[in-house]
């Protein structure tokens, strides 16, 4: 999307400041907001046991369905489990899924994209397969794969990764196809640089910025897909407190105890928003058209 210059105007910045990327990032508020929010979520996930939480699985039928209070900050669910503790621990699951899927899909997509970008006959075959897979809505791929395997966090990550690989592949291939025709690659080739050295030194580094941006969006969508899968009963096993699972459990009680759905939903939305803001900021910061003006 070619929105970069006006996004700046939107943020009240008259022009791109001099002084390189660091100054630019410092003056880019949405990226900072996204980064800080995401950082807080990561810290919360890491230090979950020290944040006034109790065992997220501890049952206490006597204290079931208590409304949020000083003792139970987010209330308790129908089994008397503390919703606050479950929500805080749920961040671990969502962030694990988001980060794992983003890393796995990026690495696999990068390798396939590099190969197809350089080899004409693999390109013809692999890209037809990718086109086909991309016409299946990714949530259906994940649902189909999950219906076949046993519910586990690893299988959720694998299923979402498989659904996301075609999009990453297409992006990397597109970048490689553009790059290989550019004069500097031709020059490197003419001066006798070997194929792998061109790939490693000239092509690969240039695919990383768009891949980084794409990675943030993959992470955000993976977290939503995980929540949807768990919500539909095809995701993380019910004994793991993921945000989708907590919401699925609160579904039937929504009219009497809406807070069970509200809090994990809120945390999921904030985390996805943070990653999206970060991704938008990164895209503007790394946009080559913009970089030329800096």
């Amino acid at each position: 999307m070619t929105v970069a210059p006006t996004d700046l105007a939107l943020l009240g910045l008259p022009a791109v400041p001099r002084g390189g990327l660091r100054t630019y990032i410092r003056r880019h508020p949405t990226m900072i907001i996204g980064g800080v929010l995401l950082g807080l979520m990561v810290l919360m996930a890491i230090f979950a046991p020290y944040l006034g939480t109790v065992d997220p699985q501890a049952l206490s039928p006597i204290r079931r369905l208590r409304w949020p209070s000083a003792q139970y900050w987010f209330g308790t669910d129908m089994l008397g489990r503390d919703v606050y503790s479950r929500t805080v621990y749920g961040a671990r699951v969502s962030l694990t899924v988001g980060i794992s899927v983003a890393l796995l899909a990026s690495v696999i997509g990068l390798v396939i994209g590099l190969v197809t970008g350089f080899s004409r006959w693999t390109d013809a075959i692999v890209m037809r397969i990718m086109d086909g897979l991309m016409s299946i809505p990714s949530i259906l791929i994940a649902i189909a794969l999950m219906a076949l395997t046993r519910a586990s966090l690893e299988n959720v990550i694998i299923a979402i990764t498989i659904a996301d690989v075609p999009r990453v592949t297409r992006l990397v291939r597109g970048v490689v196809l553009t790059l290989r025709e550019l004069p500097f690659v031709e020059a490197a080739h003419a001066s006798g640089t070997g194929f792998f050295r061109i790939l490693w030194r000239h092509i690969l580094p240039n695919t990383l910025p768009p891949l980084l941006v794409q990675g943030t969006f993959v992470a955000a969508s993976a977290m939503i897909v995980e929540a949807i899968l768990s919500f539909l009963g095809a995701g993380t096993p019910p004994n793991i407190p993921s945000w989708g699972n907590i919401m699925a459990e609160g579904r039937s009680l929504f009219q009497v105890a809406y807070y069970i759905v509200l809090f994990p939903g809120l945390f999921l939305s904030i985390t996805v928003l943070a990653i999206n803001l970060l991704g938008d900021g990164l895209r503007d910061a790394l946009d080559p058209r913009l970089a030329r003006r800096m």
Partner: protein, 313 residues
């Protein structure tokens, strides 16, 4: 032009072939015996044998594939394991609510999002632009079911304006129909509208920077004529493209929205099939949804020539 249409239609064949191959191989790619997986944990040896025989899993792989594709080409999507009814019949029974919800969402999102994007681009940098961009970012970030529950809380639980869930066909009266479809449409349309608003704004900004827009303004043409007649018309192709691509998000959202609002459509059929491991239904639904997605994007591609007469093939 005619040659292009034929070529474009033929190009969907390999895509659908890959989809069919994927759907077929799903059962065989999975680790372990598909019959055992489908039968579940409590199955007896007889159950497994029965399922194996019913799905034709006892035959060689190529025979299974040929039989399956032959059936597909004749509209036979197999037999549901749980209900013993043909999958094509089960799907046909559930199409109406899903189609209604999807069409109403498409209409509402496009009618709301395109003007938003146009205004945002026209008043770039103003508060209108900021509001639209905030909407666009939020629309991407709030998952469908979270938004659905917020709507239910506001309009059904705390104010009692709309029914909590359920579905009424248009034949059941206009108000009952509308009151049941409003919340699902809004919940489902948010992501889609955010996507379209964002693309409309970006595409309009590109066009508004062109010389012919300045010329049109310089000759004293009214703002609305410049915006609609000159700018939006030229910005239409990327908007049509994103609408086609966004249908994938719409299909994902339908499954969730129907679950939250208890709408008896294809999404609910999917969820029931997952819980019962009724694999022929899941396969059939993937094929139908993917075919719909491919078809819509084919129509979008063909619409380019109408939207922009400069495009000739």
């Amino acid at each position: 032009m005619f040659a292009y249409i034929v070529r474009r239609i033929l190009a969907t064949i390999p895509v659908m072939a890959v989809v069919a191959l994927f759907v077929f191989s799903l059962l065989h790619l999975s680790p372990g015996d598909p019959a055992v997986i489908i039968a579940g944990d409590t199955a007896t040896v007889d159950d497994i044998a029965r399922i194996r025989q019913k799905l034709g899993l006892d035959q060689p792989l190529y025979v299974q594939f040929v039989t399956w594709v032959w059936g597909l080409l004749h509209g036979d999507l197999g037999i549901s394991i749980f209900t013993n009814l043909p999958v094509s019949k089960l799907i046909a029974q559930r199409v109406e609510p899903t189609l209604t919800l999807t069409i109403s969402t498409l209409l509402v999102s496009i009618l709301a999002a395109v003007p938003m994007g146009v205004l945002a681009a026209w008043k770039a940098g103003s508060w209108i632009d900021r509001v639209v961009m905030v909407f666009a970012v939020l629309g991407f970030s709030v998952p469908v079911f979270v938004l659905a529950y917020v709507l239910i809380y506001v309009f059904a639980i705390s104010t009692d304006l709309l029914p909590v869930q359920g579905y009424v066909t248009i034949g059941g009266g206009l108000w009952p129909f509308l009151s049941h479809i409003v919340m699902p449409t809004l919940a489902l349309g948010m992501v889609f509208a955010a996507l379209i608003a964002r693309m409309t704004r970006a595409s309009m900004l590109d066009v508004l920077a062109q010389d012919y827009i300045r010329t049109a303004q310089a000759k004293g043409l009214a703002n609305d004529k410049v915006l609609i007649g000159h700018a939006l018309k030229n910005a239409a192709v990327p908007i049509a493209t994103i609408i086609g691509i966004g249908v994938a998000a719409l299909i994902s959202g339908v499954v969730v929205t129907e679950t939250v609002f208890a709408i008896p459509g294809l999404g609910r059929l999917t969820v029931d099939a997952i819980l019962r491991r009724d694999y022929p239904i899941i396969q059939g639904i993937i094929l139908v949804f993917s075919a719909a997605y491919v078809l819509i994007n084919l129509l979008v591609d063909l619409s380019y020539t109408l939207l922009d007469p400069r495009i000739r093939y």
